[in-house]
Symmetry: C2
Subunit: 471 residues, 2 copies
């Protein structure tokens, strides 16, 4: 046998460490290198925790329950309210922000810029220096949007008098909220806070919100999931590409707006604003995703991720079976396409609650449906398909409400399983915007990033402790 082996030409497959294959190549042979890494990158305690959870009937059953809850959610846009009046536990001297909790002094530039802008918008200070002093005084509470059933893209700043979208999951009768989208470039969520930004926010609160609210009242609500599903058939992934969803949303709303008694100049201005912003629907997509995932949260033993969010310093995830705890790791840098004059060196790390879309199986997970997005985030159309395919390996199921035409109408991969992420090393992909690292500048690009493995290894350890500690 051995003799026969050494008489034949060897076909070597080398799994894992590439240096073995390189030695064969140096000796004149040929070896095909297969990328593989041990689960949890060889951290033995995590690997043990993972081994405890894999195929555990209680976890499998909990995930089926959580996934069904996620899939049965029916988020309806019902109304528009003022943050301090409608957000649960919103204080009058409180500003919400994107991502997991973070103190003022640790915040990244664009988040500080957005909070300074929110303070100016509220009239709590008369200039940026005063606003920064107030922010660092400890007089204002800073809490994550997620702690108030809300989500906000990028800096995610929501201050008490801002208007918010009010979404209700009618299946489980739970609310979710998001702020309004201001457009691209110089916007509060990217850390810009000049007079143009503040004046636009004022107009949005005083004119846009009440006008759209009058339209919504006539419609009685907009069912967000079918609208998102239709947009997925029109080349959106409803995170970083929302051109179809925004158009469909405007089309629904305009018919109602024209039946309101709102001043026609206000209707014209509102329509102008919405029609001019292809990302307008993003915040609604996020609120809908938040509602779907909150429905799945809190199922004991479930390893399903119910939130991924970044504050520009840390990336955090929450898991259905581990309660309100955040598992965090340093926020990664985003690889993408930059606006002229900017590079990676100018970029803040990954930022905002918008990864709630990927958590819900759209965004980067549904990228196959949106080949044209590569012109915005980089790469080739085949990458978009490959990314969706890869995500099937780390998810619990497919969302049959979100079918992807280029995948022969298969449902989008959804319900990230922390066990599968740690086991395969395949990291959740996220399409996102890129903010300038300094306060006051704004958006400088868009691109693709990955959730850090360390969030998932911590979550696996914590879940294993909880699940197995009970026995």
């Amino acid at each position: 046998m051995m003799q026969a082996l050494f008489q034949e030409k060897l076909h070597v497959l080398n799994v894992g460490l590439a240096s073995f294959a390189e030695s064969i190549a140096r000796a004149g042979g040929a070896a095909l290198q297969i990328e593989w890494a041990p689960p949890a990158q060889g951290q033995q305690n995590v690997a043990r925790a993972l081994a405890q959870l894999v195929n555990l009937p209680s976890v499998e059953a909990a995930n089926r329950t959580a996934f069904d809850l996620y899939q049965s959610a029916q988020p309806i846009l019902r109304d528009i309210g003022i943050a301090r009046e409608v957000l649960p536990d919103m204080g009058t001297r409180m500003i919400l922000h994107g991502g997991p909790p973070i103190a003022w002094q640790n915040m990244c530039g664009p988040m500080k810029g957005a909070i300074i802008g929110a303070i100016l918008y509220e009239g709590w200070a008369k200039d940026t220096a005063g606003a920064a002093a107030l922010a660092s005084s400890g007089d204002i509470a800073f809490e994550p949007c997620h702690h108030h059933t809300a989500v906000g893209p990028m800096a995610g700043a929501i201050s008490p008098s801002m208007p918010v979208w009010m979404v209700v999951d009618t299946t489980h009768n739970r609310p979710s909220f998001s702020n309004f989208n201001e457009g691209l470039g110089k916007a509060l969520r990217f850390g810009a806070n000049g007079p143009d930004v503040i004046n636009r926010l004022r107009w949005m609160g005083q004119t846009l919100a009440p006008t759209l609210r009058a339209g919504l009242e006539i419609l009685g609500g907009i069912d967000l999931k079918p609208l998102m599903a239709q947009a997925l058939h029109m080349g959106d992934e409803v995170h970083n590409r929302n051109v179809a969803a925004s158009s469909l949303f405007l089309k629904r709303l305009i018919v109602a707006l024209l039946k309101t008694r709102a001043p026609s100049a206000d209707i014209a201005a509102a329509v102008d604003f919405v029609a001019g912003n292809d990302h307008f629907f993003l915040n609604l997509s996020m609120a809908a995703c938040k509602a779907m995932l909150d429905a799945a949260h809190g199922v004991p033993d479930s390893s399903m991720v119910t939130a991924m969010a970044r504050n520009g310093v840390e990336f955090g995830i929450r898991v259905s079976g581990t309660g309100e705890r955040w598992f965090t790791a340093p926020a990664p840098i985003v690889d993408g396409l930059f606006f002229p004059g900017y590079t990676t060196a100018d970029a803040a790390p990954d930022l905002g609650d918008s990864a709630i879309t990927e958590t819900a199986g759209v965004g980067g997970f549904a990228m196959a449906a949106a080949p044209a997005i590569v012109k915005f985030v980089g790469g080739a159309p085949q990458d978009a398909i490959d990314n969706t395919m890869a995500m099937t390996h780390i998810t619990i199921g497919r969302n049959e409400a979100f079918t992807l035409p280029p995948m022969n109408f298969a449902g989008s991969p959804a319900g990230i399983d922390i066990r599968k992420v740690v086991d395969t090393g395949i990291l959740p992909i996220i399409n996102t915007g890129i903010a300038h690292r300094e306060a006051g500048v704004g958006q400088i690009g868009a691109g693709i990033t990955r959730a850090p493995l360390a969030c998932f290894t911590q979550a696996v350890s914590a879940l294993a402790e909880g699940v197995c500690g009970k026995r």
Copy 2:
């Protein structure tokens, strides 16, 4: 050599007639059948004509000229007019129809139904019997839309007082025209002519057209090619799927409409109507395609197709280098998806001017961009890509203004070359609606069909005669 051959297992590739392969199979052997047919299906005179034209420098140069003219056209929607006032040579007792010329007594059911409806709309008769009598009396002239620089989907009926879209190719300063889209189901263009159909046409003429015209006046025009290009990035092929294009069009128009002095009830009704019809943009897509192709028409020696149109009895094509002549063959049946209760047996043969979109490199030719359309016309998403790929073999070039994301942003195959169609036997693919074969019923489905080869063999013979006769 021969001995060695007969000792080995035979691997047989059989090209052309399948019966040879079948004989080998009956004898216990295996043969792979390769589909092939001689050019022009073996018609020797056509094959000779084709041989004269293939690689002929004058034809190649003429096609480059024609293709450049096609590609340089810039169709702008400029205005809305009344057919009798703006269509060239439109008579006051004339009704235009889809496809090549046809006499009343030879028309298919839905075309007769549409013409009866148009007569009722004009008030020339008081009931359908009177209208049919008038149509057969010879008192009314019937001419193709194409003879008046116009296009109309399906029956294509345009009568003197109907409103028409006025498009101008600003590069070559040429107009083109189309009628307005009424929506799906019971519509004049599908042969329906009940009071609801006629009343809707009246409202379209009296309210919709002047309202939209006021908006267009403020906009100064809408550049149709970029809008179509954007829709191709949003899952439309701008023939049978126009949901994105219609939304984008409405978004452009509504901003202007709200600045007009039109009565707000009229604006609301117009927006309601446009927002409720995902095919509204079809007629604009057609007028834009007509403009692009008219730019390419009349180049001596060019073998580029400048029109494909069907009247429900005959399928006709026109070629740039053969003047105003139509080359016709029996119109095929459309293979597709039928509305509940209907089958192929209920279907009229292929009908309408809408194949102008495929002639211009969109529709079936750009189907790769619109995988979701298979839910409307049948097949699987891969078929959509295969169809676009196949069309590259019979076209002169790629329209770089119409890029297709799933094909890595390659331009859509455009400029059908009659020589390549006859040489390869690959027939132009067409996405289209299906009308009931009887007058008065309406649309019963949608599907895919192919242009008949006989149109192209005749055109090749005629072009060869013209080109070689000159020498």
